[in-house]
Symmetry: C2
Subunit: 418 residues, 2 copies
């Protein structure tokens, strides 16, 4: 499919992240106005609350866009999702007869603040990148035992903390935590010294389920995708994670990009999962191409300095798709909810510059990175800005996600001082 042209001229610019083919969903506000749903088109945002109020978009008998999140639209289900996309495409396409009605509803993106695009019901983080799991396992347990015995049979995951999910641009305060260094007998409560990123993508569940769902049903339930950075305190994690898994190490914040790129926009980019070393059990079997060819990168910028791209990889490097993760998640009968967020797990490729965390890039701190500006980094230092970027490349157009960025602030001197 080639570039679909819009009468919003900026959307037709080469390599623009938000052409008519994309139409991602966010929540925005302008000075003095309340956050409301919007759709990105080129350098503009279509104000969906206004579009609904004006009768330009009507999806149901009751309003869906008078709230600062997309959950109400998700609740309507896939037929309405498709109807909305079709309507938006028609309204914004070159030659649209309704241009005059729509043009007054556009807001320049430069004037907008972006907010969380949806209300997160629950957040689950998976561990579905084979190269990442192998790298971390090698560091912790040696190359022979790198992958746990279950890894090639289950999309391993753990429940995270929905309350800690924030939108791109939110500053991240370096956490305190209980740490035990190898040269001390006892732990201490200190600021984390090994604060890290995890380059992930998040899948947003758009439908409820009450019992086990198949991989095909799970794919139908997914509303869209975002970039996701699961900030991780490696020193807190190392001390706390046995035997019940990561907890406070992952609870400070998880950042997501501000635009939900719909599953529909990503359809042309579906690719197959890698070859299976063991045949998957029936309820997890591939039922078609469910990964996507999405180019991903991580930029790191010391305070006041230019950014260096420290990693480039691809979403297709995952071993398990979001649909397989969701199928596994529901397999015990666990009810799934509209607004659940599934982190993919860190996405690393097979070579060193494709690694999606500083833990892997600096090999546990043993091989510090040198940035283009000359600084060395093993983990994040105060003032560093970390930015995830991603896009799918079509025939003369891109499906962009918008940056997922955050600046790390110094730990508080005393976190209990009010």
């Amino acid at each position: 499919m080639p570039l679909m042209k819009s009468w919003v001229e900026s959307a037709n610019a080469p390599n623009h992240p938000f052409p008519l083919n994309n139409l991602p969903y966010g929540v925005f506000s302008t000075e003095g106005t309340d956050p409301r749903p919007g759709v990105a088109i080129g350098d503009m945002i279509l104000d969906m609350e206004a579009a609904e109020a004006e009768g330009v978009v009507t999806l149901s008998e009751y309003p869906l866009f008078d709230v600062p999140f997309w959950n109400e639209v998700m609740e309507e289900g896939p037929a309405v999702w498709a109807a909305l996309r079709a309507r938006l495409t028609s309204l914004l396409a070159e030659g649209s007869a309704e241009r005059d009605r729509v043009e007054p509803l556009l807001v320049p993106m430069a004037d907008a603040d972006l907010h969380m695009p949806f209300a997160v019901s629950e957040y689950t983080d998976f561990y579905a990148g084979r190269h990442h799991a192998t790298n971390v396992g090698t560091m912790f347990r040696g190359a022979e035992n790198a992958l746990p015995p279950n890894w090639l049979h289950i999309p391993i995951g753990y429940n995270g903390r929905a309350s800690s999910v924030v939108v791109s641009g939110t500053d991240i305060r370096r956490p305190w935590g209980q740490l035990k260094s190898p040269d001390h007998d006892l732990p201490a409560f200190l600021p984390s010294r090994r604060f890290d990123i995890e380059l992930e993508m998040g899948a947003i569940v758009g439908m409820h389920s009450d019992g086990p769902v198949t991989v095909q049903e799970a794919d139908t339930m997914i509303f869209g995708y975002v970039l996701l950075n699961d900030w991780s305190a490696r020193d807190i994690q190392a001390w706390e994670y046995q035997p019940l898994g990561p907890f406070q190490a992952k609870a400070t914040a998880t950042s997501i990009s501000p635009w939900i790129v719909t599953k529909a926009a990503l359809e042309p980019f579906r690719v197959n999962a890698p070859e299976r070393e063991f045949e998957l059990l029936d309820h997890l079997k591939d039922v078609g191409p469910m990964l996507y060819d999405i180019k991903l990168a991580v930029d790191m910028a010391p305070e006041g300095k230019a950014a260096t791209t420290i990693a480039r990889t691809n979403y297709a490097q995952l071993y398990y798709s979001a649909a397989q993760q969701l199928a596994h998640h529901s397999s015990s009968g666990c009810p799934m909810s509209v607004g659940d967020l599934l982190g993919s797990g860190t996405i690393s490729g097979p070579t060193k510059p494709e690694r999606g965390s500083l833990l892997e890039l600096s090999w546990g701190g043993k091989e510090p990175l040198t940035l283009d500006t000359g600084e060395q980094r093993s983990f994040i230092e105060d003032g560093d800005t970390l930015t995830l970027k991603g896009f799918a490349e079509g025939d003369g157009y891109r499906i962009g996600f918008g940056d997922c960025t955050g600046t790390v602030l110094p730990a508080l001197d005393d976190p209990y001082k009010r």
Copy 2:
């Protein structure tokens, strides 16, 4: 404090779980009516929606009781919690001048269905019982390495799944899951064969926080307590839990008792935590007695048969209080929300009949229990009803929790058949 007498005569009966000293909060409905908040007093429920509508209880300028959960009351904060308890005590006390206004607002508990008393924001399960952790650790790693090195320094916990929390009386469907038996090379997807209970108590967070809170602040934030059964599929858990902790093993269901017993009602029963083997770090230190003397028991009844009490223990057997768990939970800056539920972890005492799970009672299936009715049990069999019971014993009265019960239904023949 002795028994406080009520004009609701049944509340004054010896050993009644709901005397005037208690006043626990639930959500109920009667035939043809919608669920609404209520307060248990003896064999009756005070209809709080009606009490507010009639002007008998007025806590704010806007209604708090026209919703089927207690979260709105929690949002008001501790001053309103105290005002509500004082008002209810005055209305229901023997000799109340307002008896005539209140009596028409009482509904017989026998006519009521009980529902979830609050909307669960997020659910966290801890592992704060030393005897339980020691028993499980001994089974899995041997007596020498029973307690992980962090255990005596951190209240170890993991995030659970809020969507799976159900009210007492909800049937529990035996889950399917990925299992690997020791005599097979590969896993299979099968119904769980080692389905278990965990005898716990749940603490309900009633206030928001955005950064680390002290143990004292955490205690203030707790609204009340319930009994909690964290149903656990041991065979799913054994295969999945490395390296990121329990996931689908704990996601089928967690049952809670239907009445929130307030922190205020439990005040007379505060007891100190056990002696500390290592001094706790400052941010986790005991700041007074924050456990409670609450007697707990587990009953098991095969289908159509009488129940056998299979365990008796006490909440005071925990090593870490809910306030310490909450302080730890917030220590990384993790935002905490009104309606968060914190499971205590399984509560076992030092001797065999005090063990709070079948895993411990049957020592991993090696020492099956014999019930009073003659049946043997290592884990739960289809049709078994498991019931947690609990009360604090005062001077001539009890603070009861109401049973936390559930019957295990057979696994579906094919969980994917619709």
